[in-house]
């Protein structure tokens, strides 16, 4: 941080004096090293747990989708084809809607 004190205009000088005084209000002792180290350990532990939770959820969703797909292919291929067809139709409809709205904006 670099304070601009050189050639300060009177109002800037007053600003500096006021903010210096104000900043001194925050100039107490910093927390001791052990407390900060504990904070680091705790935050990093929580971060790891969060990552593990997110990864587990991701794998669970992925495995569920794959299980459903394999089940449909092996037991009722007709349903599988129908779902694929519906997904394609939905995708095409969304794409067409997007293109139509974009065209309307540019007109």
């Amino acid at each position: 941080m670099t304070n601009q004190h050189n050639d300060a205009a009177p109002w800037e000088e007053q600003l500096r004096q006021g903010l210096d005084t104000l900043a001194d209000l925050g100039a107490e002792e910093p927390p001791n090293l052990a407390d900060l180290q504990m904070l680091v350990v705790q935050v990093q532990r929580e971060q790891r747990q969060q990552l593990l939770r997110d990864l587990s959820l991701f794998w669970l969703c992925g495995l569920t989708v794959l299980a459903v797909v394999f089940y449909l292919i092996s037991r009722s291929p007709a349903y599988f084809v129908a779902i694929q067809g519906l997904a394609l139709v939905g995708l095409a409809a969304t794409g067409a809607g997007f293109l139509r709205s974009r065209k309307r904006v540019t007109e």
């Binding site: 941080m1 104000l22 090293l33 180290q37």
Partner: protein, 171 residues
Amino acid sequence: MDEVRRAQQGDQVALARLLQANYLSVKKYLVTVTMDRALAEDLTQETMIRAIQRIGQYQGRSQFSTWLISIATHLFMDYLRRQKRERRFQEESILDLPTSEGPEPQWMDLMEQLHALPRDVAMPVVLKHYYGYTYEEIGEWMGIPEGTVKSRIFNGVRALRKGMNGDDQSA
């Protein structure tokens, strides 16, 4: 810089030491922009937590203290957005500056003027005219274009000068 690298490689003591070395400068910065000691304390703590979470993303393009200031600024902006009641916030954060015996110093008026400004106007004024950061840096931290930073600073400074009863025409 070695300390930063060690912290990024997982050295928890190095990271704690870095945070301790910069703790007061972050807190002082937050006291000057929030003008609220309790809020500054909370935001300093949050800044430290955010820095621990994102230490891997620090690329060394600026000083470590500047990186922390940018995090603190983002957090304060988030706080203001969450509040959406900036007027109430300003009324609640009462400044109680310690002054010595005798006549009230001149800067006291200016501090009151600064305190009366909306925080998103006062903050760029402080960042530019007290800390000396560039318009670009301020804009990036506050999430606003450089031109907006300039106009807010212009308006803020004009309001401050006006509040000083025109006794500073030279600036």
